[in-house]
């Protein structure tokens, strides 16, 4: 900063009008009602902490599950009420002094996250699958997270029948952050939401009851890489602030397209410097691409998906993707549309390598969870194709795809929790051979999910994929669609291979057993199947809904 600029700062402060009393700050105007979904969830999470502190161990599980379910249902009702009140369409606006948008995409994605979260909580709460330890029913989570794996303290915790009921408030915090993430309308809110939902996820990843070392390794990897990515994001935010003098989406967009001309004197040297804009935008986008698991920021995905407790994997795979794509959409469509000639080619490249990379590497996977991880990478690529469309159909198709995909994902991972052997979940693919002969219903349900992943007609996967490819083609990304269809063909191979394995191979002796779940997991899977089929057979209503919701408030 030059000396004159510093001087002007001083002089301006000194010559400020006397009537403007120093120290008087306008009280922020917060529209609590419009933020109620987030507030309910965060509030419930805080209550969850209090429950951990004050409710006897015996009743904690019920109190936590009840609180979480109630909070998510209440928040979902709040979203519905806001949408019914017109906040998704006519009354869409920016609330909380420009920090949070209350508009169609935000409400649609919040509703999706809440429902996906609710279904995920069901799988969290499942206590029938693992054999009872010392007479205590246990869930998928470690007895005592702090105890070293294999240590005496772990054994003692197991014997005492401890369970980590903290997972419920952690999940609620994560959901709370995810609710804000796609609605964030300035870069700081975006970043805080990112951290609020990421940190609980890192913890949740470390909490597996079985394979604890692998789980902890996954958590550390996720944390380190997540922190690394956050640093890039934060640096990008700083550069964007330097470019525009603001963290507000509206103002940055205004500077980008030239409608905001007044220059903050403090930033006179940097404002309007396109290098800052381009590098900053690239870095912020990169942070979001890390969260959605796009190539080349996808490396954490298979390791973390495999190591994390399977219910957490399902939750993460579904809800994180919804939140992160929501934020990416808002960033690209609201802040950076003026820059689309710069970022679109880059995103083309990312989408292509993501689709192809995910699909190709998935072929040689032998672990069902890693397979689904690569599948999720490929799907991130498909969704990116819709994001790149840069037209209204692009928004609505991505919203639809996310809703469809999240339920398939949670359902698929829920099925994975059922197939078990002595060591816990039997995730190696060879163990799934002949599952269709032993448990035709479970295998058939899984086949439905796989067909949906593959995008076979009459499943939600087809409707979603068709919608994003259509939008992309109309948006002038025809070659991208061709690559997408080719990747789908490659991807179909490994999905169908699992179906062939389940139905047309001889069951192995000593193969896994299929545990009979409680109503909780059954509900989660049933919801997954129902949504998959309803969105596949009669997608139009939901496509219309996503179409109505597909307008960002600016």
């Amino acid at each position: 900063m030059s000396a004159s600029a510093v001087h002007s700062l001083w002089t301006m402060a000194a010559t400020a009008p006397a009537s403007n009393e120093i120290g008087k700050i306008d009280a922020p105007k917060i529209e609590y009602a419009q933020l109620s979904p987030t507030l309910i969830v965060i509030g419930a999470a805080l209550i969850g902490i209090l429950i951990e502190a004050f409710v006897p161990r015996r009743s904690r599980y019920y109190a936590q599950v009840g609180t979480a379910v109630l909070a998510l249902v209440a928040a979902f009702i709040a979203v519905l009420a806001l949408a019914a009140d017109g906040y998704g369409t006519t009354k869409a606006h920016i609330a909380a002094m420009g920090a949070v948008a209350v508009d169609g995409p935000a409400l649609f994605l919040q509703g999706t996250i809440l429902l996906a979260g609710l279904v995920a909580i069901f799988t969290f709460a499942e206590r029938r699958l693992d054999p009872a330890a010392h007479g205590n029913q246990v869930d998928s989570f470690a007895a005592q997270a702090a105890s070293v794996p294999g240590s005496d303290s772990e054994k003692a915790a197991l014997k005492a029948g401890f369970t980590t009921t903290e997972v419920f408030p952690l999940a609620l915090f994560a959901i709370g952050g995810m609710l804000v993430f796609p609605a964030a309308n300035d870069l700081l809110t975006l970043f805080i939401a990112l951290e609020v939902f990421s940190l609980p996820l890192y913890l949740l990843c470390a909490l597996a009851r079985r394979n604890r070392l692998m789980s902890q390794e996954a958590a550390v990897k996720y944390f380190l890489l997540g922190a690394f990515a956050s640093a890039f994001t934060l640096f990008g935010i700083a550069l964007l602030y330097g470019y525009s003098g603001s963290v507000s989406y509206a103002r940055i967009a205004g500077v980008v397209d030239g409608s905001v001309q007044d220059i903050d004197p403090a930033l006179a040297d940097t404002m309007g410097n396109d290098a800052l804009l381009l590098i900053g935008a690239a870095l912020v986008v990169m942070g979001l691409l890390f969260k959605v698991g796009a190539v080349p920021f996808h490396m954490w995905t298979p390791d973390v998906y495999q190591g994390a407790p399977t219910p957490v994997t399902g939750f993460m795979a579904a809800a994180t993707k919804v939140a992160a794509f929501g934020a990416l959409l808002r960033l690209l469509y609201v802040v950076l549309p003026g820059l689309r000639w710069d970022w679109r080619p880059v995103m083309w490249g990312v989408a292509i390598v993501t689709m192809l990379g995910g699909a190709i590497v998935a072929i040689t996977q032998t672990d069902i969870k890693r397979l689904l991880a690569y599948s999720s990478i490929a799907h991130a690529g498909f969704i990116l194709a819709g994001v790149i469309a840069m037209n209204p159909e692009g928004i609505s198709s991505v919203l639809f795809y996310l809703a469809a995909y999240s339920f398939v994902t949670i359902g698929a991972f829920a099925v994975v929790t059922l197939v078990r052997d002595a060591g816990g979940e039997a995730t190696h693919l060879s163990k799934w051979a002949g599952l269709g002969r032993r448990s035709p219903l479970v295998a058939a349900v899984f086949a439905v999910f796989l067909l949906a992943f593959a995008g076979i007609p009459l499943t939600s996967g087809f409707a979603g994929k068709f919608a994003v490819f259509k939008a992309a083609a109309e948006g002038g990304a025809g070659p991208l669609v061709v690559v997408g269809v080719l990747s789908s063909a490659v991807a179909a191979f490994f999905y169908i291979r699992v179906i062939v394995l389940m139905f047309f191979s001889e069951p192995q002796p000593g193969g896994p057993t299929v545990a009979v779940p409680s109503a909780l997991t059954t509900t989660a899977i049933a919801v997954g199947v129902a949504v998959t089929l309803v969105l596949g057979v009669a997608p139009q209503y939901f496509l219309d809904l996503a179409g109505q919701a597909g307008v960002f408030a600016r």
Binding site: V220, L224, A229, F232, A275, P296, W300, I360
Partner: protein
């Protein structure tokens, strides 16, 4: 009045449905119901015919729009009927001859336990054939076309316990598929060319369409006609089709279905008129087939196969006439109708002979039957005189006109076609006389001694030739009337010409020689043919074992090597083609597919090694990715 048109088809269709779905309850009465419904259809036809006669020639065509079948933007197909003079002619022929053959079958199939089903199939055939000639567009015609093909298949293979019948049915079906393919391609071409299938618009639009396209459509229609009408090169199925019960041979494979190709060409006259090259091909096909069939007919000892060769040959005449354009259309149809009478009569006669001869078909074991079955002899004899063109009988008038028209084609072509037609007439006289002599005259070679001498086994059952029951002889008598008088009735005062002219148009040809000379020549070759046959089969006893014969005879006995040709060229060729395609599929297509899969798999194996589990290398990859994205973004701005 036009509402009756649908009833024409509905009556036999109802019969088919009731008889085929009705089950055993109808076994005792089914044949009567089938015959009655066929008669009803004929009655409707007569009502419509009288109504039509009451109108002016130009206003006789009736239309009935039943419903919109495939209503798609730009693709309108209706179920609608058109009854003009051409269709009317066919309706009367089909339902009239059809009814007679139903009646005949009551006697002929009396002892067959599946008689109900037989009548169901016959009714199905009538419905499909009437649909074929009544459709007002090519798509609906195609439905009828396939329907008669189905009925023909079912009836040829009616005695499915005989492998030869089952094979013959399959052969007919397969060969007909080739023709059907032609028709479907023709219809597709019509749609792309004219945007419609309806006769009216298509035939009116031919004036504004390029000749190339019309030639293509016409040739495809000709291919269809060749399949259905057993014309060279798709003739091979007709001889084997004689495996079906004789009434079927009479109705489907002589009088009606096999003439559908002629109908198709005449109906599409406007297309052929505008495509002279295609017309030339039509005449060549007709000329070749008329000789082909006649030569085959000379060599066959199986009475039905001899008649089948004759059918092929006579249809060759019709196709030849149809290929001549407006100078021939009317005569093609006239010959078709008279042929319907006498050929149906001949087949019914043959069936009557077989009925009295323990189903023997080998004419070398006939002989001297005239005194055992006098009615059959007289009716068959009248049919024989009609087909060889004995002056005054039906065949004389219709065939003479075709020969005249062939000469009138003009130029070298005219001379060649006319001479071929004349030659055909001579051969016709020869082989029909041969059939007549071998069956009804000469020694009684069916006696046990003679038969055993000719190679029959010791268990040979000597037949007791006898006249057939009334239900069989009456239709034969009626058809004999038609064989004798129809030609004269049609020709005197050019009745038939005036009747059909509004539909097919007619031009008078200018033959290079006078009509009288043509008639004289026709009669002369007739006498020659009859005399030659008498010399070979009348004057000398017929050998009980067929002599070895000349090369041509031996070839003709094998249907002029048609099956050998098909086997070597099509079957073997097809097998080779299949094998090479399978090889290509395995090596090239599968190779490419498997190769792609293998290379993707290999790529996958290599890429997954990047996933080494070390956070540090993941971080490096992220850093590299971030650098790449930033660089790319900046680069985009730079360029």
């Amino acid at each position: 009045m036009e509402n009756l048109i649908a009833l024409l088809i509905a009556a036999p269709l109802l019969g088919a449905a009731v008889l085929l779905c009705g089950g055993r309850a109808l076994d005792r009465t089914g044949h009567l119901l089938g015959t009655l419904l066929s008669l009803a259809s004929f009655a409707f036809g007569l009502v419509l015919f009288t109504d039509m006669l009451g109108k002016d020639a130009e206003e006789r065509a009736l239309h009935q729009h039943l419903f919109s079948w495939i209503p798609v933007e730009g693709f309108q197909a209706d179920v609608a009927f058109q009854l003009d003079q051409l269709s009317m002619t066919f309706v009367l022929l089909i339902s009239g001859v059809g009814t007679l053959i139903h009646i005949y079958s009551i006697g002929y199939m009396e002892h067959d336990e599946r008689r109900r089903r037989f009548f169901g199939y016959l009714n199905l055939f009538l419905a499909a054939m009437l649909l074929l000639v009544l459709a007002d567009n090519y798509l609906l015609l195609y439905v009828g076309w396939e329907g008669v093909g189905l009925a023909s298949y079912l009836l040829i293979g009616f005695w499915q316990h005989k492998p030869s019948a089952a094979t013959a049915a399959k052969k007919a079906f397969l060969v007909n598929r080739v023709g059907d393919m032609g028709l479907s391609i023709a219809i597709m071409l019509m749609f792309t060319t004219f945007g419609t299938f309806a006769f009216g618009p298509v035939l009116e639009a031919t004036g504004d369409t390029g000749e190339g396209k019309l030639t293509a459509i016409a040739l495809m229609l000709l291919l269809a006609a060749c399949g259905k009408s057993a014309q060279v090169p798709l003739q091979s199925w007709l001889g084997d089709a004689m495996e079906g019960p004789t009434p079927v041979s009479a109705l489907i494979h002589a009088a009606t279905m096999v003439t559908a190709g002629v109908y198709l060409i005449v109906r599409s006259g406007a297309i052929f008129n505008a495509a002279p090259d295609a017309q030339l091909v039509v005449t060549i096909v007709g000329a070749v087939t008329l000789l082909f069939g006649a030569i085959v007919g000379c060599a066959k000892d199986d009475i039905k196969k001899a008649l089948a060769g004759s059918t092929m040959s006579q249809i060759g005449y019709m196709v030849l006439a149809a290929g001549l354009g407006p100078i021939g259309y009317v005569f093609a149809i006239m010959h078709l109708v008279t042929h319907g009478f006498f050929k149906a009569g001949l087949f019914l006669g043959a069936g009557s002979v077989m009925h009295g001869m323990n189903d023997e078909v080998d004419m070398r074991r006939y002989g001297g039957l005239r005194k055992y079955m006098p009615v059959t002899f007289v009716t068959f004899g009248l049919g024989y005189l009609a087909i060889i063109g004995f002056p005054g009988l039906s065949g004389f008038f219709s065939k003479d006109k075709i020969i005249e028209a062939a000469f009138a084609k003009g130029g070298t072509e005219g001379w060649i076609l006319g001479s071929v037609a004349l030659l055909g007439a001579a051969i016709t006289a020869f082989y029909m006389t041969r059939v007549m002599l071998m069956t009804f005259f000469g020694e009684e070679r069916w006696r046990k001694q003679a038969a055993i001498a000719s190679g029959a086994g010791e268990d040979y059952q000597e037949p007791h030739p006898h006249e057939s029951p009334k239900s069989m002889t009456i239709p034969m008598i009626i058809l004999a009337f038609g064989s004798v008088f129809a030609g004269g009735f049609f020709s005197i005062g050019d009745r038939f010409l005036h009747w059909l002219e509004p539909v097919t148009a007619h031009e008078h040809g200018h033959p290079p020689i006078s009509a009288g000379a043509v008639t004289g020549a026709t009669v002369a070759v007739l006498v020659l043919g009859v005399a030659a046959a008498w010399l070979m089969y009348g004057r000398r006893p017929v050998p009980a074992v067929a002599p070895r014969g000349s090369l041509l005879t031996r070839a003709a006995r094998r249907d002029l090597l048609q099956d050998d040709f098909n086997h070597v060229v099509l079957v073997r060729g097809g097998e080779h083609l299949t094998r090479s395609l399978v090889y290509l599929d395995h090596s090239l297509v599968d190779g490419a597919v498997n190769g792609t899969a293998a290379s993707v798999g290999g790529l996958s194996g290599r890429l997954r090694r990047l996933q080494n589990g070390y956070v540090r290398s993941y971080a490096v990859s992220m850093f590299g990715g971030a650098a790449l994205i930033v660089a790319a973004t900046l680069l985009m701005r730079a360029v």
